[in-house]
């Protein structure tokens, strides 16, 4: 019996490692940071540039982080001297192209910040893409420039 368990385990361990590897996105994130906000603020924004080196367009469809209840993709529209926030279901990164998420425009919102955010110096963020892959990034928390 013990031998069987060992044999099955030997097959399972590489299989799980393979699953993790296949789930890793080819999308690259550069220059990531999260905006520092007052302690009374429940939300903040993360910014980075997403690069797609593949031949297929891939969309960012969401994400999660242990420091926030929800992670969403947002944009800001500037029109007639007014700023308006728009919630996006997805954000396409063209094949061999890039999309910059930057202040006053596209950004990833961390909504419902938890206590762990207040003490943190950086945030771990998992980004989810339309091809079912994920990208884990670590973004420092810093004051916006």
């Amino acid at each position: 019996m013990k031998n069987w368990i060992m044999i099955v385990s030997l097959f399972l361990i590489p299989a799980s490692a393979w699953c993790q590897a296949s789930n890793a996105s080819k999308i690259q994130a550069e220059g990531a940071y999260v905006a520092a906000v007052p302690a009374t603020d429940d939300n903040t924004a993360a910014y980075f540039t997403l690069k797609n080196p593949t031949d297929q367009a891939i969309s960012l469809v969401g994400g999660n982080s242990s420091v926030a209840k929800k992670v969403e993709i947002h944009n800001h529209i500037h029109k007639d001297g007014q700023m308006k926030m728009v919630h996006l279901e997805s954000l396409e990164i063209p094949a061999h192209g890039e999309v910059k998420l930057a202040p006053m425009g596209l950004h990833v919102m961390l909504i419902g910040l938890k206590d762990s955010f207040r003490k943190a110096k950086s945030v771990e963020l998992t980004l989810k893409f339309s091809d079912k892959t994920q990208l884990k990034i670590k973004a420092p928390i810093k004051a916006e420039e």
Binding site: G81, M85, H87, M109
Partner: protein, 198 residues
């Protein structure tokens, strides 16, 4: 004959006078109709230390901003940018400048939340957070010929969003509106704008 002459003598100056008055009236009317509506005026809203009016800051330049504390991106960035520019000003000037943050989120923000918000961004500068009832905020927004819209966003966990002005309103030492300064301006342009009211 003499009487007729007397009347004739009056006709010319009278006509000239009437002409001047008519032209003046036309000029005044044209000016009134082409002049932009007056922006600004005194108002009173609520702070952590009680009611605060714009005239309380007379003798000091004011930077006025309309936003809300749950604002996800634009307000923190605008406050952060402004605080960096203000920090570059000489100390004496910086201490004379008043930064007024008006939260238009009358449903969720309180004077305490508004004050905590500005205090986070402005250290070593006079900054006050204000808010009020819908009617009070609507009056201030209307005085400054701007607007805001609270929209429900059911698809987002935020639940709502507020469309609000993207400019700083500069007010001179006399309490008069001086200029609009777009928040997306470079730090150098923001500094120049601030210097224009110092």
């Amino acid at each position: 004959m003499r009487k007729e002459l007397k009347i004739k003598n009056w006709i010319l100056p009278l006509s000239i006078g009437a002409g001047i008055l008519f032209a003046g009236g036309l000029y005044w009317f044209a000016r009134q109709s082409t002049q932009a509506p007056t922006i600004g005026g005194d108002f009173t809203l609520h702070s952590t230390r009680g009611p605060v009016s714009l005239h309380d800051f007379k003798g000091r330049p004011v930077v006025l901003y309309f936003g809300y504390t749950s604002c996800p991106d634009v307000c923190p960035l605008s406050m952060s940018k402004l605080s960096r520019v203000v920090a570059q000003l000489p100390e004496a000037v910086r201490k004379n400048l008043e930064l007024v943050f008006v939260s238009v989120d009358y449903r969720k923000d309180t004077p305490e939340k508004a004050q905590n918000y500005v205090s986070f961004f402005f250290k070593g500068a006079q900054a006050v957070g204000l808010t009020g009832s819908k009617e009070e905020i609507d009056r201030v927004v209307s005085l400054f010929k701007t607007g805001y819209v609270i929209e429900d966003v059911p698809t987002s966990a935020l639940g709502y969003s507020i469309q609000h002005p993207s400019d700083f309103f500069l007010i001179d030492k006399r309490g008069k509106f001086s200029a609009l300064l777009p928040t997306e301006e470079s730090n150098e342009e923001l500094k120049k704008g601030l210097e224009s009211i110092l």
